[in-house]
């Protein structure tokens, strides 16, 4: 209880009040969701996070199921390599994206040598998407693998014996069976993308995602009230998604997050 008060309640209350203490008072919250610039960055962040979540679930889900079902030489090494991004801070991920798709990047060099123009997307939403995808996939992969290994292979065999083709098995057996894990991993992925800062800071010269906007308000314009209000909105939004996921799966998501 003491810890809860010291590390959760007090800072949160302070943050909430801080936002209200500014020039605009409690209207700061209203500003955050109505002012075009802030609102745009809010929408952009949510859309980006949703897109990253969807893409991660598809790629991470598919490879997770595959890796849990098949045994082949080098499998352990592959899983080790795939989970490596977990060890990288966001800045490093951003750096990797620049190396790949930046002005001096590999993709640019390749497209140029193929006779096209130099493709550079590291500093756009595309780059951010790639970076977030990169560090989100391992989380989903591991969760899905754990869940897929617990899924009785006889379920799939029973469906096959009843004549079900692969697509039906995917829709009727695999996805429902993995649903709790997918929702849990997805919520976690969404929350991480919403709050990711390091990667955004490295890449986002031209884009404004919410954590970047907070940083800008806070450091450049010294508008503490707006920054605090945006922080709370970001937090509440993410928390709401987690809560939704938790109610959809029963329990355990927030704990995992």
């Amino acid at each position: 209880m003491t810890f809860f008060t010291a590390f959760w309640l007090l800072p949160m209350a302070r943050l909430a009040l801080f936002a209200a203490d500014g020039r605009e008072g409690w209207a700061a919250y209203l500003t955050v969701v109505t002012h075009p610039r802030y609102f745009e960055s809010l929408v952009a962040t949510v859309l980006l996070s949703a897109a990253v979540t969807a893409a991660t679930l598809v790629t991470g889900g598919l490879s997770g199921v595959f890796l849990s079902r098949h045994r082949f030489p080098g499998r352990r090494t592959l899983i080790g390599l795939l989970t490596l991004p977990l060890a990288f801070p966001g800045v490093v991920v951003g750096f990797l994206v620049i190396l790949l798709a930046g002005r001096q990047g590999l993709i640019g060099a390749l497209s140029q040598s193929l006779g096209g123009s130099r493709i550079v997307f590291a500093y756009s939403m595309g780059g951010l998407f790639l970076g977030y995808l990169y560090f989100s996939i391992p989380r989903v992969l591991l969760t899905v693998m754990a869940a897929a290994e617990k899924l009785d292979p006889a379920l799939e065999e029973a469906a096959r014996s009843l004549g079900a083709p692969p697509l039906r098995i995917l829709l009727d057996i695999l996805i429902p069976g993995l649903m709790p894990a997918l929702i849990g991993a997805g919520a976690l992925c969404f929350a991480t993308s919403m709050g990711a800062f390091g990667t955004a800071f490295t890449l986002a010269t031209r884009i404004s995602v919410l954590p970047m906007a907070i940083y800008t308000e806070f450091t450049l314009f010294a508008d503490m009230a707006i920054a605090a209000a945006m922080s709370l909105v970001l937090g509440l939004l993410t928390w709401a998604v987690l809560a939704l996921a938790r109610s959809a799966t029963g329990a355990g998501v927030a704990a995992a997050a």
Binding site: R71, D152, A154, L155, E157, A158, A159, R160, S161, L162, G163, A164, P165, R168, D172, I173, P176, G177, M179
Partner: protein, 374 residues
């Protein structure tokens, strides 16, 4: 439409397994070249310890796995080796039930029919018929996690037979259930298989289950078939030590042939006890002094009054099992014997069955084999 359940009975399927072996990618040979004929309409029990290849053989016949090159699976003479399970029209029942947890009982049973594209009203009628057959009609709308183990396996059976498969494959369906439920459901499965008349393959490691359900029993060990026969043949004319020991208990007394009996440390067992049917056809009787072995089941020996027995030994332990008393006897041969007698003696109060008491046995029927064989 739909009210009258159709009673179309299919002509049962005959299955032939030709030269099927299975080597796993890691080099483990789960199944050696096996040839097997499953007659139309029979229930064949595949019996053996874990790792003997019985489940591998079932999976080959099901189409969940494929034999090494050269092996063939024939359904009514038609080669189905390359057909995946989806197109073999087989019903499967698993040890783990494998019910779809995201569907109700009725939806589980209806799943195969839905895949076949059966019209909804016909589907409903068939599901009702199946649930009634398995006596689980009141559970139709339940979720799977609200069912007991026995109920789950009934749902799994209903789901497997609903699309009227040509072949029913049961992989240790009763292993996860407790003993009493197992016995009850075993009787029901037996009645179900007889009523359906479908060819069925029943995999189990439990010899009692195999004997009760199988028209014929295939005993397997180390990826090979050790014996195929009726339950009676398997039990009373086992084709080797492995079968004899795996299917019930087998006593062995080593001795030497002398005149009309076999001399062993505990006395002489008259050869008359060895019934003619037990002597291998055409085998010459070995001469006097030849080492031989007598084999008999626990129930083939009776406790005799003093002076009336063939052999004499010492009781080492006795156990009251309810319907019978099991007595362990040593000193007759080189290895201890197990003998069973009716359950109307209490070994705790009866001094004749106390440890260390002398005991005499009459052996009523025992096959004779040259030592080291059978």
């Amino acid at each position: 439409m739909g009210g009258q359940p159709e009673r179309r009975t299919q002509t049962p399927l005959a299955i032939r397994v030709e030269g099927c072996a299975r080597t796993f990618p890691d080099g483990v040979r789960a199944l050696d070249r096996v040839d097997l004929d499953i007659r139309a309409g029979e229930t064949l029990a595949l019996l053996g310890p874990s790792g003997c290849g019985k489940t591998t053989l079932l999976r080959l016949i099901a189409g969940l796995d494929h034999p090494d090159p050269g092996g063939r699976i024939l359904f009514d003479g038609e080669d189905v080796t390359a057909l995946p399970i989806e197109r073999r029209r087989v019903g499967m029942v698993f040890q783990s039930y494998a019910l779809f947890p995201n569907m109700s009982v009725a939806a589980n049973v209806a799943y195969g029919l839905k895949i076949q594209g059966m019209a909804p009203d016909m589907r409903r009628a068939r599901v009702t018929e199946m649930l009634e057959m398995m006596r689980i009609a009141p559970l139709a709308d339940r979720a799977i996690d609200q069912l007991s183990g026995g109920q789950r396996q009934r749902v799994a059976l209903a789901r497997a037979i609903a699309p009227r498969p040509r072949l029913l494959l049961l992989d240790e369906p009763l292993t996860a259930l407790d003993a009493k439920l197992r016995d009850a459901l075993r009787v029901e499965i037996d009645q179900l298989l007889r009523a359906l008349g479908t060819t069925a393959l029943y995999v189990t490691h439990d010899q009692a289950e195999a004997m009760a359900l199988g028209d014929r029993v295939v005993v397997m060990t180390h990826g090979r078939i050790a014996q195929i026969g009726t339950p009676y043949e398997i039990y009373h004319r086992p084709a080797g030590r492995f079968v004899a020991d795996f299917v019930g208990l087998m006593n062995r007394i080593r001795g030497t042939l002398s005149g009309d009996g076999v001399r062993c440390p505990g006395g002489i067992v008259p050869l008359a006890a060895a019934g003619p049917s037990h002597r291998p056809a055409g085998a010459r009787r070995p001469g006097d002094g030849a080492p031989v072995e007598i084999q008999f089941r626990p129930e083939d020996a009776v406790v005799a009054a003093p002076g009336q027995g063939h052999v004499r030994g010492t009781v080492t332990a006795s156990f009251f099992l309810g319907d019978r008393v099991r007595i362990l006897v040593e000193g007759v041969g080189t290895t201890p014997l197990t003998v069973e007698t009716g359950g109307r003696i209490d070994p705790l109060t009866d001094a004749t069955l106390a440890a260390g008491a002398p005991i005499e046995l009459r052996i009523q029927s025992a096959p004779l084999a040259p030592e080291g064989e059978a």
